[in-house]
């Protein structure tokens, strides 16, 4: 983890701490919105601009605003006893820390543990070149900058929203070709009768 990545991680840690320690639902929802914005920026910087923008529009623009609207309607101020008193703190922290350690072990630490199959061994066994931890290497070989977002957008909107059902596609031609091959291998009708 580089220094820049750690600095970018700090607002997320701060927001998560605020969400856990603050009692007022308004502040918790605002911390949640801040975390969403930081993660959206993080994803956009790392090459997932489409999801980053979707995160801002859907989560920060719709869900958090609906949360704040409900909090306003229910008149939640964080002063009630049930909003301040924790519910099963020992169980909560034990479950969270244990699960976090398990997740770290299964994702990050697993690379260096002997006896477990890591990604490079899996790549050597299967021969799949896609399994790589260096995404920029693939990008430099095959793709121009921002081509991932452009391809994803074109794929989604052309295949599902703009496609003309009457127009023949390559898949249709391939299907006809397969049908012709199958009919040719069967021979003329009535041959085996």
């Amino acid at each position: 983890m580089s220094v820049a990545e750690f600095v970018a991680l700090l607002p997320v840690l701060e927001g998560l701490g605020g969400m856990v320690w603050l009692s007022s639902p308004v502040y918790v929802a605002i911390c949640f919105g801040g975390i969403l914005l930081v993660i959206a920026g993080w994803l956009a910087i790392n090459g997932a601009e489409f999801i980053g923008i979707g995160l801002v529009i859907i989560y920060a623009g719709a869900v958090v605003v609906t949360f704040l609207f409900l909090i306003m309607l229910a008149n939640q101020t964080g002063q009630a006893e049930y909003e301040r008193a924790p519910n099963r703190p020992v169980l909560a922290w034990a479950a969270g820390i244990l699960l976090f350690l398990m997740m770290l072990f299964s994702t990050v630490w697993r690379e260096g543990v002997p006896g477990l199959v890591n990604r490079s061994q899996m790549q050597a066994q299967t021969g799949i070149e896609k399994i790589t931890s260096d995404r920029r290497h693939v990008d430099q070989q095959n793709r121009a900058p921002f081509s991932r977002t452009a391809r994803l957008s074109v794929e989604l909107f052309s295949r599902f929203f703009l496609a003309d059902p009457r127009k023949r596609t390559v898949a249709d031609d391939r299907h006809d070709e397969l049908c012709r091959d199958r009919a040719a291998t069967k021979g003329p009708p009535g041959r085996y009768q």
């Binding site: 997320v12 856990v20 994803l43 999801i51 949360f67 770290l104 990050v108």
Partner: protein, 99 residues
Amino acid sequence: MTILVISALLFCTGIVGFCLRRNAVLMFIFSELMVLGAVVASVGYALLWAEEKGQILGLVLLTTAACEAAMALLIIGRIYRTKRTLDIKLLSSRGEQEE
């Protein structure tokens, strides 16, 4: 790898907050945080393995979470109108008494 650590942090903080709180709105916010951790994990693996399918899965998860949030907030608002509280312990004890 950093993005996977962030997703694990989001998910585990969601679990901690969900178990810590007694307010229904806050519990739902923390469950949304868990969904956000799942979205970030799928996008993180998509970036790590140079696959676009993970991003499409993340988009589907986002949409599902938004629909779920709308429905759950409607139910929570309805509960508050009838019971005048959002305390989960109180609501569950009242439900047991009514049964």
